[in-house]
């Protein structure tokens, strides 16, 4: 079985955080302890939505050392493929679900003298567990958190109450913007910056840090890409000897799984590289959406990341 090891859990609490975000608490069904994790880790939640099984990654926001329960926050995306809508509308307290062991693609660099966290919107979630880890280790940290407005600022009150000097909040509605260049320029040697938020914010932070001479090694980012819907297409899986149809609302990876093909994966968001698949033959155009492959690999037509990327054309044959 691909992916990280699975854990059977029960949903023990659902809390509406604001108009768009709900928090879910999971506890082990067998009453045992959950594994500890490291700040920034995510879990992949299995959602059985009728005939469709969705596996969506969500950052763990609870204390990494708390083995009694995991919590995640899910932002409702009315335009998405339905994973967040399923969590919001179809999951109730007492439901049995399956989640994966924690996987961390956004861990703290413990060599850092200071951690600078930059969050945009729901991108706050990995920092919630990282802040708890920093507090436990006595690490220096600072958070700059941009959200649309006070009503949609998830966990703003908790953060500013508990950490009045470390947590800084910016509301788009009030035209408040992170003074990024000053902020980065003022950081002492040994600072690492971490950014999680919309693509534009990640690009902005990476470009500004590079311009100011920050080493690449001290800039960390996480962006989960949700697979986007697209035109249905047909794929030939050479190793499995199957021809499958990828539907409008499912990813290539999900279509392979639905057809009983055990394809490797980890993050399901175009980041980790685990699902990288060799293309044997194709006639048509790739729609690459991952940020794992390099530009020349995207152009080569030799590889695809089935978790987020699609294809339009006549023939696609994969080494799977």
């Amino acid at each position: 079985m691909s992916g990280a090891e699975k854990i059977d859990v029960t949903v023990t609490e659902i809390v509406p955080v604001n108009a768009l975000v709900k928090r879910f608490k999971f506890e082990r069904r067998d009453g045992g302890l959950l594994p500890t994790f490291s700040g920034g880790a995510h879990t992949v939640v299995e959602m059985k939505d009728g005939d469709i099984t969705r596996l969506n990654p969500y950052s763990l926001m609870s204390d990494p050392m708390d083995q009694s329960a995991y919590t995640i926050s899910v932002r409702r995306d009315d335009e998405g493929r339905g994973g967040s809508l399923f969590m919001h509308n179809k999951v109730s307290v007492g439901d049995e679900m399956v989640i994966s062991y924690p996987v961390n693609l956004f861990s703290l660099d413990l060599r850092a003298k200071k951690h600078l966290f930059l969050a945009g919107g729901i991108g706050i979630t990995p920092f919630l567990s990282q802040i708890k880890q920093c507090e436990r280790l006595g690490d220096a940290w600072e958070l700059h958190y941009a959200c649309r407005n006070a009503a949609l600022g998830s966990y703003v009150d908790e953060l500013t109450a508990a950490h009045p000097f470390e947590a800084h909040v910016y509301y788009d509605d009030e035209k408040q913007v992170i003074a990024l260049e000053n902020l980065l320029n003022g950081q002492p040697i040994g600072t690492h910056v971490y950014v999680c938020g919309p693509k534009g914010m990640i690009t902005w932070v990476r470009a500004t840090a590079e311009k100011l001479g920050w080493p690449r090694e001290a800039v960390h980012y996480e962006e989960f890409l949700a697979p986007q819907p697209g035109k249905p297409f047909e794929v030939r899986l050479a190793v499995s000897n199957k021809t499958i149809q990828v539907g409008k609302d499912e990813s290539l990876l999900e279509a392979m799984e639905r057809s009983g093909v055990d394809a490797p994966y980890l993050c399901r968001g175009g980041a980790c590289g685990q699902c990288e698949t060799r293309v044997i033959d194709y006639a048509g155009a790739f729609i690459h959406r991952d940020h794992w492959l390099e530009d020349d690999e995207h152009a080569s037509g030799e590889k695809i990341m089935p978790c987020v990327s699609r294809f339009e054309g006549k023939t696609l044959v994969l080494d799977r």
Partner: protein, 198 residues
């Protein structure tokens, strides 16, 4: 000619690069002896406006030429030991937009890199370029003493007097190559010393 092509060796052995100008708001340059040549090669007037050069001449006369680059700050130190407190003080107040350039002997680059990594700069983000002497800073694995400027192999530990074989095994934490007793099994049976590099 101050450049030297080090022979390929084990993974532990540091690999030095070639300095190139990088974007940054501050440029910290630390060099000894012929290392000055690498700074002279990479320096631009724009970079010098925010450059701090810490130079240990070791008997060379490059200081005048470096000073003529007109860096924002220039320090001419009598030895590495005399300069290290200044390096530490500069790093203490340095910002993330600082680029570090190290050039000269392996001993200088290794020790300055240790200060930089202790300050929290990822070692892969520090630029280096070897110039000048290929003599090494050696640590005796037996008494832990350091012997500077070792050019021959085997050599006598300046602390405990053991005959030491010069290894390519390098310690980033000590900024030194490791020297191991060459005649432990058969005391007195010491091969004649020759240069470390053929």
């Amino acid at each position: 000619m101050s450049k030297f092509e080090f022979p390929k060796s084990i993974l532990s052995r540091p690999v030095w690069g070639t300095l190139e100008p990088r974007r940054g708001l501050h440029h910290l340059m630390i060099a000894d002896a012929e290392g000055a040549e690498a700074i002279l090669d990479v320096a631009t007037p724009e970079m010098m406006e925010s450059a701090h050069i810490i130079f240990i001449p070791k008997g060379t006369d490059y200081a005048k030429r470096l000073r003529a680059l007109n860096p924002a700050q220039f320090y001419d130190g009598p030895s590495y030991a005399a300069s290290v407190t200044r390096i530490q003080r500069v790093l203490l107040g340095a910002k993330m937009s600082t680029q570090v350039y190290l050039s000269g002997t392996e001993s200088l680059m290794g020790q300055a890199m240790l200060e930089c990594t202790n300050a929290g700069i990822p070692h892969t983000a520090i630029q280096t370029e070897h110039r000048g002497s290929t003599a090494r800073r050696m640590q005796c694995v037996h008494c832990k003493g350091f012997t500077e400027d070792v050019a021959i192999d085997p050599f006598v530990c300046s602390h405990c007097g053991l005959n030491l074989f010069v290894r390519d095994h390098y310690s980033r934490r000590y900024a030194a190559y490791q020297g191991v007793c060459v005649d432990a099994e058969d005391p007195g049976n010491v091969p004649p010393s020759k240069g470390i590099y053929p």
